[in-house]
């Protein structure tokens, strides 16, 4: 979203307020869910 927020300075187009949630995905939690991926270097 930040990338597009920067563009607001460059393009004179209609804008709306943004109300957003912030999510964090922690590495440990991710691999608890996707145990099959643990230890793999690449996708």
């Amino acid at each position: 979203m930040k990338y597009f927020m920067k563009l607001q300075k460059n393009y004179k187009v209609k804008r709306n307020d943004i109300h957003a949630y912030v999510y964090h995905i922690k590495k440990d939690n991710f691999y608890k869910i996707f145990q099959e991926l643990k230890g793999e270097k690449n996708v």
Partner: protein
């Protein structure tokens, strides 16, 4: 190619007609861009898109990447891999053309982005800030183990 999943492949965008046409459609789509504060799309031109591409280095990080279907190489969307900051937090982004919504592609890409960052960089946390109205994006975060930690509000500029 940067990485692939079961149905999709991710590569760097190129300044050719096909890729630029895709970004022109995606970034000017009201349906897609309303969630990042542009209810009528970005209003960006092909020339401006080319200029953005010319500023990228060779790295696959911190730039827009093309998401294609493996079976037919149709471009379905874009994604980003953010470099980890000094707190080992990376930002990712996924945007798909509306005609590809509802097929689980977003979750497939998000999972791959997280795995790529966790296994190839110092990233310990992947951060995202989906619009409160974008339920699909929130579900995508939760699918990957995302926890809601805060709310933010960006006020639109008063004058154009």
């Amino acid at each position: 190619m940067i990485f692939e999943t079961e149905r999709l492949q991710v590569r760097k965008a190129e300044a050719n007609e096909r890729d630029i046409d895709f970004y022109f459609t995606l970034w000017n789509s009201a349906e897609v861009m309303k969630y990042v504060g542009f209810p009528e799309g970005l209003g960006i031109t092909e020339k401006e898109i080319k200029k953005i591409f010319s500023g990228y280095d060779e790295s696959g990080y911190d730039r827009t990447l093309i998401v294609e279907e493996k079976k037919n190489e149709n471009i379905i969307g874009e994604c980003k891999l953010g470099s980890p900051n000094d707190k080992n937090i990376s930002i990712t982004d996924v945007k798909l053309l509306p005609e590809y919504w509802g097929n689980g592609f977003g979750k497939e890409i998000k999972k791959a982005l997280c795995h790529y960052l966790f296994s190839n960089t110092s990233c310990k946390v992947v951060k995202a800030d989906p619009n409160k109205l974008n339920i699909a994006s929130q579900k995508m975060q939760e699918f990957c183990g995302g926890i809601k930690v805060d709310e933010i509000f960006h006020e639109a500029p008063k004058k154009l």
